[in-house]
Amino acid sequence: MQMFPLVAKGAQVRRRGKVLVGPVDLTLGGQGASIVIGPNGAGKTTLLKMLHGIVRMNGGSLDWACPLEEAQKRQSFVFQTPVMMRRTVIDNIAYPLRLTGVGRREARTRAADWAARVGLGRILQRQATMLSGGERQKLALARALVREPEVLFLDEPCAALDGRATREIEEILAHAAGSGTRLIMSTHNMGQARRLADEVIFVLGGRIHEFSPAEVFFAGPQTPQGRAFLNGDIVE
């Protein structure tokens, strides 16, 4: 059953009376990579978490084309600060499979395969909390991809990484996208947005100010805030 389109109507997240995100009206199709951009505190992370379903909405609706339970099983999330479970690399990657009832041996075999794909094949038995920043992010990616999700949410996955690690992560993401995984990702890095985006969601003050194909946005944003942001001006 198709997951997309994902349709948000008036979706809103409030905390202590303050609107963090919304109201959001958005329809996402099932192809390519949507890149969420915007200044700090714009609501990018909350928007992603809301779409993924780990932040409770206080208003509006969010509907996948398939039942919600089914949709939740077919998506993964990579956090800005990767959460390392207190286990070895291979057990971290195998964990999502174990949750779905995959046997230990098969889970570890598939986990080892994914670890090799992201370049962690030689440190399978290392404790995850001992990894470097780049290795942690790769592990988080492998752990998210091991269930072969149809949608992958990524919250600034390269925020604290150097150029080399960023390139490696982007290669993994490009490969995932090439295999049909739908990417919905936030980033601060305009270069990365240009490299990966098929469409751009520009967020400011918790609202979507612009949602357009990447070539349209980067050729000339439709809103003054979008233009200012793209020019590197301070936007609040």
Partner: protein, 234 residues
Amino acid sequence: MNDLWAGLSQAFWLLVTLDADLVEITLRSLRVTLTALAIACAIALPLAAFLAVRRFRMRRATIAVLNALMGLPPVVVGLVVYVFLSRAGPFGVFGLLFTPTAMIIAQVIIVVPLVASVAHQSLRELWSDYHDLLISMNATQFQRIQALLWDGRRALLTAALAGFGRAIGEVGAIMVVGGNIDHATRVLTTAIALETGKGEFAMALGLGFVLIALAIAVNLAIHWLGRTESEGRW
């Protein structure tokens, strides 16, 4: 000072000669304490994980009560267990009063709040790390509890050791429900209390040193088995 030296030498001789009474009392102490600890951990650790993971209406009150129960006076626990197990009590029919089982019941009641509170502190922090990840992965409530208990196992060892310390050194409750009966319910702590009452300070000190040595040995053994200080582990 003389009593101290006499106690040390008496403890030394008791150990070297493997005094039969001492061995019996020590083994009974270990059996009662470790059984109580195992039962307490089986109750307290899942309870601590449940309290970390699950949000429910009386959660804060439950945690506050649990913390307050850490200071439960052992003698009062002993008294309550005594009332319940005495012939006139609701469980009198089982004939458990003045048996090691009664001592185990009392120790479980004393140790559960302590282990649960200490474990909850650790698991709460771990849960704040894991919260978004496990929800994102659609882990069920049971799977979340499992993950916390497994990944927090070394911190939980500390909670268990705290429980062991409390149980092995406990005297008030087990004196009341056990009765300190020779060859039946006498354990190290009640034996020390008895010897002190008789004015046999050297013997009491000797038993005390054995008790301390036992506590340290069990702690070291558990640390060694758990490999808590190994490089790259938790």
